[in-house]
């Protein structure tokens, strides 16, 4: 029986104090942590390199197939010089190799349009700073999802011949269950959004969920 390995979180923040804080919070939550001080360093760590850095308009990214380190979640500050947390989020979600990594945004400012923009782009959560331990408890289900997916992929290959349920059916079932989990979390989020102050006019139901490239409107 394989032992459950720790979750590995990549934390991105240009503030040294906030890096220290988030690192301590994550370690207290039994996570492995890597901290970087910029979006570009985060992409480097994730194995994504900017091909053309001279002309930002035509910059394209290509994946480094040798992504050595598994990252279960990226948590990033929104306001950073150069690449913002939002830019980083976009780049991750646009990458075929990285788009399934859950991304969480942190910000010291409560700007509803900013929050909904990030959620629509695929961020799982938006935390107001200073981040608390209780906020980090919300991360577990998101990270668990990626572990289940990875385990399923491996299982699917091993049990290809032996199983009564084909790997594809298994994956579809898993997807369905995870979508239910997502919807449930969405409902939980809408009733428990003290920390994530969204203005009254904007209901969470209008947030688009993105899963495996399929855009679902809940």
């Amino acid at each position: 029986m394989a032992a459950e390995s720790q979750f590995h979180v990549l934390a991105v923040d240009d503030s040294l104090i906030d890096r220290k804080l988030i690192e301590r919070l994550l370690k207290t939550s039994s996570c492995q942590v890597t901290t970087v001080d910029s979006g570009s360093k985060a992409l480097e760590f994730l194995g994504l390199y900017e091909a053309d850095t001279t002309n930002p308009n035509t910059a394209s990214t290509f994946p480094n197939n040798h992504q050595e380190v598994e990252v279960n979640l990226v948590i990033t500050d929104y306001c950073m010089p150069g690449m913002t947390g939002y830019d980083l989020l976009k780049k991750i979600k646009e990458s075929s190799s990285l788009k399934n990594i859950p991304v969480v945004i942190m910000s010291s400012e409560n700007v509803p349009s900013r929050i909904s923009r990030c959620l629509e782009e695929g961020a799982e959560e938006f935390f107001l700073k200073p981040v608390r331990l209780s906020d980090l408890n919300k991360l577990r289900p998101h990270m668990l999802k990626t572990k289940i997916k990875d385990q399923n992929k491996k299982q699917g290959k091993q049990e290809e011949k032996a199983s009564f349920q084909s790997p594809k059916e298994q994956e579809q079932e898993e997807e369905h269950q995870q979508q239910l989990l997502q919807q449930k979390q969405q409902q939980q989020q809408s009733s428990n959004n003290k920390r994530k102050a969204i203005e009254e006019g904007l209901s969470p139901e209008r947030t688009r969920l993105r899963y495996n490239g399929i855009t679902t409107v809940v």
Binding site: S15, I17, L21, R24, S108, K129, P130, R132, L133
Partner: protein
């Protein structure tokens, strides 16, 4: 005898903390910091606070030199420094310092030089006061460690 000294020190510490919270100098975020300190990270609070001191003093120097420029006052740069100062103050629970930063930022957004100068002086004052109090707090805690060997919980 050691026990009495430890009790007295703990009382001193609690009294100082109560004062700081009551005056709004610190808020519950500081408590969060304390809760994150344990045997695996026994100096966490003082480490973070010392980084805060170091960064804050740099920011204050930058703000003062920006305001000393009689010809061109770079309000945008001031805003950036203030955002950073606000963020770090909020992260360690330095409520009053953060609030002065907010007022300072408002003055700079209105291109109000006089307002900025006043705000800077107030900011320097609040920061000094906070630094002194936190040093006092750390001193008491050091004495507690010497008296009891206990560094955590706080």
């Amino acid at each position: 005898m050691l026990g009495l000294a430890a009790d007295r020190l703990r009382a001193d510490m609690n009294r100082l903390l109560a004062f700081l919270f009551h005056q709004g100098i610190l808020d519950e975020q500081f408590l969060q910091l304390q809760q994150l300190q344990d045997e695996s990270s026994p100096n966490f609070v003082s480490e973070v606070v010392n980084i805060y001191f170091h960064e804050s003093e740099k920011l204050l120097r930058n703000l003062r030199s920006l305001l000393m420029d009689r010809e061109f006052l770079d309000y945008r740069k001031m805003g950036n420094h203030l955002n950073q100062f606000m963020g770090s103050s909020s992260s360690i629970g330095a409520k009053r310092v953060r609030n002065v930063c907010v007022a300072f930022r408002a003055a700079s957004e209105h291109n109000n030089r006089a307002g900025c100068l006043t705000a800077l002086e107030l900011l320097e004052h609040e920061y000094c006061f906070l630094k002194n109090k936190l040093h006092e707090l750390f001193q008491i805690q050091q004495q507690r460690v010497l008296a009891t060997g206990v560094r955590y919980p706080m």
